[in-house]
């Protein structure tokens, strides 16, 4: 058993991580800004998506649907579908964050893959839960600010600074999320949830539209949680 890290050291480590996640994600923000303003959205509309929708996968889905000639309804539906997993994230984060009123409204807005993964990567009991809270808030704010600045740069320059793929950023973001989930895999239940979720999403990827395969992983969590409870009660 190692001693809990001192708050100052942990705090700066969390803030460094939050900033680096924001920087990595912002390169995609530039791509999003450029894509948005070249597919029929004005600069203001592109920026509004980053400010108000603020969930990358949904924003790309909406813009790509319009770009491929889809209807407004189809574009809206695609963005909602991709945004559905955020409901599960905010459900999980609410006992961790313990917020009410205006802070609850703001916390909801900042609930995305990165902020949730960062919040949960910290031990919930560490420093009275402040480590988890700081990880969530700092990552949410870092990504929000940098994502929006990046969107603006992309929208006005209408070209990406660099190709995110050439920089290996697609792999870096996957690896970063994996590193954040890693500490949560502690026993056979969490391991089954992790592997089952990954497996079902991969099996369904060739047959279902984007967004649904990841969402289907929720079924795995329900089944494992249910069988785990039965074992406990038996």
């Amino acid at each position: 058993m190692t001693a809990a890290p001192a708050w100052d050291a942990l705090r700066s480590e969390i803030l460094r991580k939050a900033l680096s996640i924001g920087i990595a994600v912002s390169i995609y923000g530039v791509s999003f800004g450029a894509l948005g303003s070249t597919t029929g959205l004005s600069i203001a509309q592109t920026q509004a998506l980053s400010l108000l929708m603020f969930t990358g996968a949904s924003q790309f889905a909406l813009v790509s649907t319009i770009a491929s000639g889809g209807t407004a309804i189809a574009a809206v539906a695609a963005s909602w579908l991709l945004g559905t997993r955020n409901a599960a994230y905010s459900l999980r984060m609410s006992p961790v964050l313990q917020v009410t009123g205006a802070r609850k409204l703001l916390a909801s807005h900042l609930t995305i893959d990165e902020s949730t993964a960062m919040g949960l990567s910290q031990d919930e009991k560490l420093h009275d839960g402040n480590a988890s809270k700081l990880a969530f808030w700092s990552t949410g704010l870092s990504v929000f600010v940098l994502w929006n600045v990046a969107t603006f740069i992309g929208a006005i320059t209408v070209k990406a600074i660099g190709d995110p793929k050439a920089l290996g950023l697609d792999a870096a973001i996957a690896a970063g999320l994996f590193a954040l989930v890693w500490p949560q895999i502690k026993d056979k239940h969490t391991l089954s949830a992790a592997m089952g979720g990954a497996l079902i999403a991969l099996v369904l990827t060739p047959v279902l539209p984007a967004g649904l395969p990841v969402l289907a992983a929720a079924v795995v969590a329900v089944v494992i949680g249910w069988s785990w409870s039965k074992q406990v009660n038996a």
Partner: protein, 102 residues
């Protein structure tokens, strides 16, 4: 177009708020508690898997696979977060630069 932008954003915000609006007493049920604890683990691992193997045509093996493999090794050897992320970026970047993988 403003309708599309605002309707999309309103729905996405409503989804984010939905989870936070569910009363905490609901989470006190042990079964619900376990499921909610496992949910983000399943969803995020599913996302990582799709980000690693997914393409517009289904599944594919390209530079991302060895990159995430190298990063996992760094993670297993207890490398720092930055090192994990950089090792993935550098691996994928180099493989693509030299045309070894897409």
């Amino acid at each position: 177009m403003w309708f599309t932008v605002l309707a999309g954003a309103a729905g996405c915000y409503a989804l984010k708020y939905l989870g936070a609006a569910i009363p905490e007493s609901f989470l006190e049920n042990p079964l619900v508690k376990r499921i909610v604890m496992l949910l983000p683990i399943s969803l995020l691992c599913a996302l990582v898997a799709v980000q690693t193997f997914g393409s517009s045509k289904g599944l594919t093996i390209d530079a991302r696979v060895p990159a995430v493999g190298v990063a996992s090794l760094v993670l297993w050897r207890k490398g720092s977060f930055i090192l994990v992320v950089l090792s993935a970026a550098i691996t994928a970047g180099l493989l693509r630069h030299f045309g070894i993988a897409q």
